[in-house]
């Protein structure tokens, strides 16, 4: 099943914030995690992720820092900020409401 572009776009920020709540991560690992969580149903264009990360950083929900990984390669890691935790709580509530409404309509 292919998700619509709108749905992928709308779910990108809550997915990123939720994954970062598990701990710091970097772009490639974020994409792999989304792939794993959705069992391959959510197919992000890899390049789409980074502008979203930039936007979240501009909104001061996440912050980034460069660090050398164990394999010696430098990577940019992202961490959830306290404001990001608050934004995630709000988004979670919003998605819960949508999920509840659709669940009642569809009887799931």
């Amino acid at each position: 099943m292919e998700l619509t572009k709108d749905l992928i776009g709308a779910s990108a920020a809550p997915l990123i914030l939720s994954i970062l709540k598990e701990g710091e991560s970097y772009g490639y690992a974020l994409i792999q995690r989304v792939h794993e969580l959705s069992k391959g149903e959510i197919e992000w264009t890899d390049g789409m992720l980074y502008p979203v990360l930039h936007r979240l950083a501009e909104q001061k929900l996440i912050e980034s820092h460069w660090r050398t990984a164990e394999n010696g390669r430098r990577r940019k890691y992202y961490v959830l900020k306290p404001e990001g935790h608050q934004a995630l709580a709000v988004q979670r509530e919003q998605w819960r409401v949508v999920n509840l409404a659709l669940g009642q309509l569809w009887g799931t």
Partner: protein, 284 residues
């Protein structure tokens, strides 16, 4: 023979040409590509296939640049030339305000006249400020290349300066009329200075119209340079013409004017060249 490092270097250069203001982002994308290539190789692909697949998953340089362009609204303020020129402009505004405030408080200058001088100075100077940014852009474009992202940022900068200049000049013209009325009983005397204010207002309206309908960076740059000439003529030309007329002196071009003319012609010439034509080295 496929060489991954060469491919990455080539990709890096091509991204840098499109997004010269996003070096950090390009480094991040490169790191992503390296991770993806490594994973693809571990999955059994050849280096060439791993690279091709990783690039196609990441998206084409043009598509990536377009995504970053959507974020570049803030870049006007992050752009070093704009930051420098705006810093100088802000400092000049503060100094002028302090000077005028002290003159008003000591009774040497009327408040209305001080507001008029401040508004006209800031309005006219906004055009010079953006011309300075344009000059930097012309040199940068000629010597190191140009991208559509920079065109967009330059366009936004010119538009913001035109709006600022239009607003301040309008305030200046209105306060000038009020001050004139207080002294002579008429709002509009039709003097050279007053006509100059109107000329600057119309010029800014023209620039705003041009920015909306003309996306080519060369037209934007030439319009910005012309703006400096229009404002310089309106601001200083009227003073020089009045003085020359008062003393019965015929106006001749002095060395600084000739020098400015030559520099201007050189800038116009560079604007008309293809981007990167004067680059010192050629990329492989």
């Amino acid at each position: 023979m496929f060489n991954l490092e060469n491919e990455i270097r080539h990709w890096h250069r091509s991204m840098l040409a499109r997004l010269p203001l996003h070096r950090d982002s390009i480094a991040e994308l490169e790191s992503h590509l390296r991770d993806a290539v490594q994973a693809n190789v571990q999955a059994g692909m050849s280096s060439r296939d791993a690279w091709t697949t990783a690039c196609s998953q990441l998206g084409s340089p043009d598509a990536l640049a377009a995504e970053y362009l959507k974020l570049s609204k803030c870049c006007v303020w992050h752009w070093l030339p704009a930051k420098t020129v705006l810093g100088v402009y802000g400092l000049m505004a503060i100094l002028l305000m302090a000077l005028l405030a002290s003159r008003v408080s000591s009774g040497k200058t009327e408040l209305l006249l001080a507001v008029h001088v401040l508004a006209i100075t800031l309005g006219y100077s906004a055009v010079f400020a953006v011309s300075a940014i344009t000059t930097w852009s012309i040199l940068s474009r000629a010597f190191s290349g140009w991208s559509h992202v920079e065109t967009e940022i330059l366009g936004r900068t010119i538009r913001a300066a035109a709006i600022a200049s239009l607003t301040m000049t309008a305030i200046g013209v209105m306060t000038g009329c009020l001050w004139n009325h207080g002294r002579t009983g008429i709002y509009w005397g039709g003097s050279l200075n007053e006509m100059s204010g109107l000329a600057v207002l119309f010029w800014n309206l023209l620039v705003l119209g041009l920015q909306a309908y003309q996306r080519d960076e060369r037209t934007r740059m030439l319009a910005s340079l012309t703006g400096a000439i229009v404002v310089a003529t309106c601001w200083f030309g009227t003073v020089l013409a009045q003085r020359a007329s008062d003393y019965g002196v015929s106006m001749t071009a002095s060395s600084p004017v000739i020098l400015a003319g030559v520099a201007l012609l050189a800038l116009v010439g560079m604007t008309l060249l293809p981007a990167g034509r004067l680059r010192f080295y050629k990329s492989a």
